[in-house]
């Protein structure tokens, strides 16, 4: 079973539909027991970092997610959900994340020239870093995925598995052992995105 963490942030309709479409047994939940029993956990998110991080903390889901991830359960953060995996974000102030991936979140406008539009929105090709990650095992370097974001992950070189070019190279996906993060939206990236989700749910828990 794949559990999508429901912590009151954003719209989970497309994510749930995409997982159903690839044949996953999927549940949208904020129940800690359900999360513990899931084979895979997906942490979604759109909106502002501070608000989302607070909602995770207030619900106590932050502790459960950290425990389960540390115990080896495959976890994927998507978009803001990916950013929450990091140590901290500098979106409107300075806010702590889950600390599952080393690095920080900063505004894209700090690193791209003025004529680049913010948010970075649209289809952009992936540039693989190192050996292809297990979540990219069935797709190719150069395949396009769909991005919508104004902040990006940095100071995280050792965990970057893909970047994308937008004036400079922005972090597109990261991993640290069983923890994965996609800045783009696999649930909106057509066949390529569905394939990434398919590969993720094939990853086995390592105990």
């Amino acid at each position: 079973m794949v559990a999508i963490v429901d912590y009151g942030v954003g719209n989970l309709f497309s994510l749930k539909s995409s997982l159903t479409n690839i044949g996953a047994d999927v549940v949208v939940t904020s129940d800690k027991e359900v999360l513990k029993n899931a084979d895979h956990i997906i942490l979604p998110g759109v909106g502002a970092f501070e608000d989302a991080a607070k909602k995770l903390r207030d619900s106590g889901l932050d502790i459960v997610i950290k425990e389960l991830a540390s115990a080896g359960k495959p976890l994927m953060g998507i978009c803001l959900g990916m950013q929450l995996l990091f140590d901290k974000s500098f979106e409107y102030g300075e806010h702590d994340g889950l600390g599952l991936i080393k690095g920080v979140i900063k505004p894209i406008k700090d690193v791209v020239s003025e004529n680049y539009k913010i948010p970075h929105i649209g289809w952009n090709p992936l540039i693989f870093k190192g050996d292809p990650s297990p979540i990219f095992s069935e797709i190719k370097d150069g395949d396009c995925v769909y991005f919508v974001h104004s902040y990006y992950a940095c100071e995280c070189d050792e965990s970057v598995i893909a970047t994308t070019e937008y004036c400079t190279e922005l972090t597109a996906a990261v991993s640290n052992k069983n923890v994965y993060g996609c800045q783009f939206h696999p649930e909106k990236s057509g066949k390529i995105g569905l394939q990434i989700l398919k590969s993720f749910i094939k990853i086995k828990e390592n105990n």
Partner: protein
């Protein structure tokens, strides 16, 4: 390098796609769900569903169809038509829309964009403007292009973006339906004053019109069209191959 988007627009009334549709191999050519799947599979980068229903029954049907479509189409979906309140945003976003485009609703209620952007984020709010030259000035038209609001278009679009619209669809009434190419002059004027994605609409008649658009105005992010795609006059796969050949950044599937 971000790719240029190609966006078919489906006008939906009472649950069916209007404007004649002519496709081989599609059993139900006026079903929005079948058409959306077809476009998604042949490489469309995004879909716009435009609700032109007048009745509340029709609106309910539209919402149901949107949900059905979003269950099986995994590319970005933008919804427009009949969006007048934040509740309308909520209604279509819950059904799987990613972006919501406002037009007359923003003209009637100028705070709509600001309110919606505050709740759902700038990336979610699209200002769709119907613009026509009147005595040499770009004017904003309301009610599907029938009513001159008297507002100067460039200032209006700037204001909408300032209020939080994260994307602009510029429909040129002057070139719409003429099929002789996009309104490059009008698009250029808008691109020069906003720093959010601009989607060109109105005037595409053939593949070359898209090539000219992206070559002449590199700041334009996407091209939108309806009937030339629905009638099969331009096939999206052919269009994208030609764009790639012309060295326009393109997503090939």
């Amino acid at each position: 390098m971000i790719t240029k988007r190609i966006i078919p627009c489906l006008d939906v009334r009472d649950g069916r796609v209007v404007k004649g549709v002519n496709f081989e191999g599609l059993s139900d050519v006026s079903s929005p769900i079948s058409l959306a799947k077809y476009y998604s599979e042949c490489g469309a980068d995004e879909l716009v569903f435009y609700d032109i229903t007048a009745s509340s029954d029709g609106r309910k049907l539209f919402t149901d169809i949107l949900c059905e479509t979003a269950k099986s189409v995994f590319i970005p979906l933008t919804v427009g038509g009949g969006i007048n309140t934040v509740e309308d945003f909520d209604r279509v976003l819950k059904c799987g829309a990613d972006k919501v485009s406002v037009n007359s609703g923003a003209i009637r209620n100028p705070s709509l964009i600001y309110e919606a952007a505050k709740i759902y984020g700038d990336q979610c709010v699209v200002i769709s403007a119907d613009v026509k030259r009147v005595d040499g000035v770009f004017r904003v038209f309301a009610k599907g292009g029938r009513e001159n609001t008297g507002m100067e278009a460039i200032e209006w679009i700037k204001r909408c973006v300032g209020n939080g619209a994260g994307e602009v669809v510029l429909n040129s009434i002057d070139t719409d339906g003429v099929k002789k190419g996009f309104d490059l002059e009008m698009l250029d004027a808008v691109c020069n004053v906003v720093n959010v994605p601009v989607i060109a609409s109105g005037g595409a008649g053939k593949i070359d019109d898209f090539i000219t658009l992206f070559k002449t105005l590199p700041k334009v992010d996407a091209g939108l069209a309806a009937s030339i795609f629905h009638f099969g006059e331009v096939k999206i796969s052919d269009l994208k191959n030609e764009m790639a050949k012309a060295n326009i950044p393109t997503r090939l599937t």
